[in-house]
């Protein structure tokens, strides 16, 4: 590579290339160089990867007033059957902060992460027992207003929890 560069330089020096450049050439080169600089100066569109996008939908981007999202329980289905929610359950809210913090209205705190697309892992620290446990939900759907999580219960049944945004 170095040799090639030296050869090119030698060629230009021997041919007195630069001195022979006419005004027209100079202008042409200037225009081309300017156009290249312009292209380079253009803003490139950054596409957020789906995993990162899911995290932002869940907990916000971290920008001003967008550091956490609060999701309120909207409905629950066990094995496809709607469960009737109590008043307490209706007011149940999960709060996900953009930096990975978690809390809910049952006074549980912990952490959250999405290790893979459509997988939400929550690590709880139970207030009463101070024990640590983790649960991994399948994210059925999530958008900026609604979220559906699925969980395999100990008894073998499948629970689907639907949340709506409640910022």
């Amino acid at each position: 590579m170095q040799k090639m560069v030296i050869s090119i330089l030698v060629f230009f020096i021997q041919e007195d290339y630069l001195n022979k450049m006419s005004l027209r050439n100079n202008i042409s080169y200037f225009l081309i160089a300017f156009a290249l600089v312009l292209v380079a100066a253009c803003t490139k569109t950054a596409v957020i990867p789906p995993l990162e996008f899911q995290k932002q939908l869940l907990a916000g981007t971290g920008s001003f007033q967008n550091t956490q999202h609060v999701w309120q329980l909207d409905s629950t289905k066990i094995n496809g059957v709607n469960s009737v929610l109590t008043n307490v359950q209706k007011n149940y809210k999960k709060t996900f902060t953009f930096d990975g913090g978690y809390s809910d209205t049952d006074n549980n705190t912990g952490k959250w992460e999405i290790p893979a697309l459509n997988k939400l892992k929550q690590t709880f620290i139970y207030q009463l027992t101070n024990k640590q446990d983790s649960t991994t939900y399948d994210i059925i759907s999530i958008n900026s207003a609604q979220m559906s999580l699925s969980l395999k219960l100990v008894n073998g049944q499948t629970a689907i929890y639907s949340f709506k945004i409640s910022n």
Partner: protein
Amino acid sequence: MLHILHIIKKQFTAIMINVLVCAVTQSFGQDTLAGNYPLLSIKSGNHVIKSVVTVKGKLDIEAGAKIELIEPGIIVCEGSVNIKGELNNKIEIFGKFNMEGVGIVIKDLDSNINSTIDIRYATFKNLQLPLFFDFGWKRKGVNISDNYFLNNIGKVSVIQVLNPPFNFNLDSSYIDFKVKNNVFTGNNAALYFEDLKSDHINYDISNNTIVGNNVYGFKNYNISTNVLYGRVDQLFSRFNPKIESNSFAFNYLVDNITDTVVHLANFGVYGTDKTIDFKNNFLGSTDKAAIQKSIYDQTLNYNAPKVEFEPFLSTPSESNPSHVYEINNLDNSYLQDTIVIKDPLKGLVLKANTNLNYTKAKFVYTYFKDDSSLKLVDTTVTYDVQPNGNSTKLTITKNVNASKKVGYYKIGDILDPKGGYVPEVKVGYIAYLNDLRRRKLIAEFLKEKKTEDSLKLPPPPADSIKNQFQKIEAPLKSRLEFGLYNGLAIFNGTISQGSLISNDKNLYNGININYTIFSNISASMTIASFKLSNSDANSNNNEQQARGMSFSTSMLSVSTSFNYDFVDNRLYTKAKRIRPSIGVGLDVNSFSPSGIYNGVEYKLQPLGTGGQLIDSTKKAYSSLALGYFFNFKIKYQINRFNSIGLHMSIHKSLSDYLDDVGPDLYPSIDKIMNSKVDNKDVAIYFSNPTSRNVVGQYRNSPNNAKDGYINFGIFYSRRLFK
């Protein structure tokens, strides 16, 4: 397809072989002569001479030879010369157009005392000096007969004969010099004989046709500005020249400076002798006074001999080479050579010395197209031929030139009874040359004026406004200038930052056409394609960051503007290469904002992100928007046609939706969910990307900015037409 290609290949090969064969044939068929030859015999066929060819001995040129002399081509003959063509197989010695060779030079004493110069049935055409007998030459005899000297461009002489050596006085022998039955026409110079009356040369200049020659000189008539001239001295008394039975007609002195005809110029003479015989020639007229005006002799210069031209012939002899010697109107009245032809003639009567053949004649009428330019129109005239002995009536059957501009008629390709060349006839040519001169002066004046205008600044404006709106007298196409624009476009609106430079920058490309209306006013139209984009994430305003919106849109804009140019558009000078201008205009923009949701780009307008599709009282915004702009340009004029420069324009749109964010309340999620929008998830996201609690807020808060954009960059522009 392959078959067709194969055929094309075959055809192409055949053409190439043909071209090769032709080139080879041409190169072998053309003989180039150069250098010194002891003897030279030039056979029939094509020959080229590009340098000096010296022939020490005899020069023979066979009938049918065609010799092209290309500057500085010349044949120098030091021996005898034998150029003998045939009546129907002539020898052609001619100059190449725009690179005319010289001709033949006869010089020195030949060692062979019997050597002669014999030139017959040859054509000397388009040469600088066809025949030149250099000082000190001597041969036994010279015969130049039955030749054509046509359209030779040199302004020195057509034939120039200088004297033999001084010591020749001791020698009793003499040279018989015959110039007979030749045609001299369309030449720019004279026949010059140093001593027409001589002790050593016995001149016989007879039976020649000398018509339609222009001898170049100045307006003061003198000896040398005649088509035939020489000296007649008392000192030499042995041989009086015989100049008889020649026909002189339409030979003029033409002013070197103006290229216009001064007057007729047939014969000039000077020297110490009292008189010279110039009898029994046809001198273009039967009017003695008119004839006298075409002769320079004692009448004009007391020291010159008197030319005895009476009796003169009233018509040329039939034995002269054929030619037209008089041009009359249809009623047989004499048609003056100074006639100004603005209205087409109805016909002509041409009087010739023989019966001429007009079957192949080309009758052309050339006239100026308008009042002052040099543009000409050539039209072929249709006519009837009515022969009447040697006189022929040509009746024009179709008239042209209704514009009443000066013109002239030219009749060429007339044939003599043996099918030979006949000098062409021109009618109204003198007036045409005068008008041509007038037009050339106007053109030169305008050119000078234009140059002056370009060099000088316009005079200080007494009334500046009037000056800046001066009309331009230039054709439409020369007022057009085409440009290529390149640069950056920056969005400035709802989703943008206060600091312009921190916004997204996108490539801007455009083409432009500019039309100069007045001296300082021009109109232009630009079609541009570019992208606008931006994101609230880049903002340093917390409220905007919290809003979290972003967009990207492809723009196609058509913009028209009026510009004020600070430098006069008509002016081109090196002192004013930098030319700024400012302008205002209107835009029509086509746009279509989009955003990326989960890695996929969605058009935002069909989503109704402002709730447009959930409320029956609203409708989606139009993707076509009007706007206005201000622009500023600095142009650097490289030369009269090319320029480069910098441009910047500030645009404001009349639509608030270039970035999809307009003055709409944040829509209810439930209403979007219940609407007919296709991608509800996407619509919900883009309506409020950060899912904030925004009840009662407008989407374009906090800044409520109007949408617009700025573009700037470089441009190259060019005038395509003069």
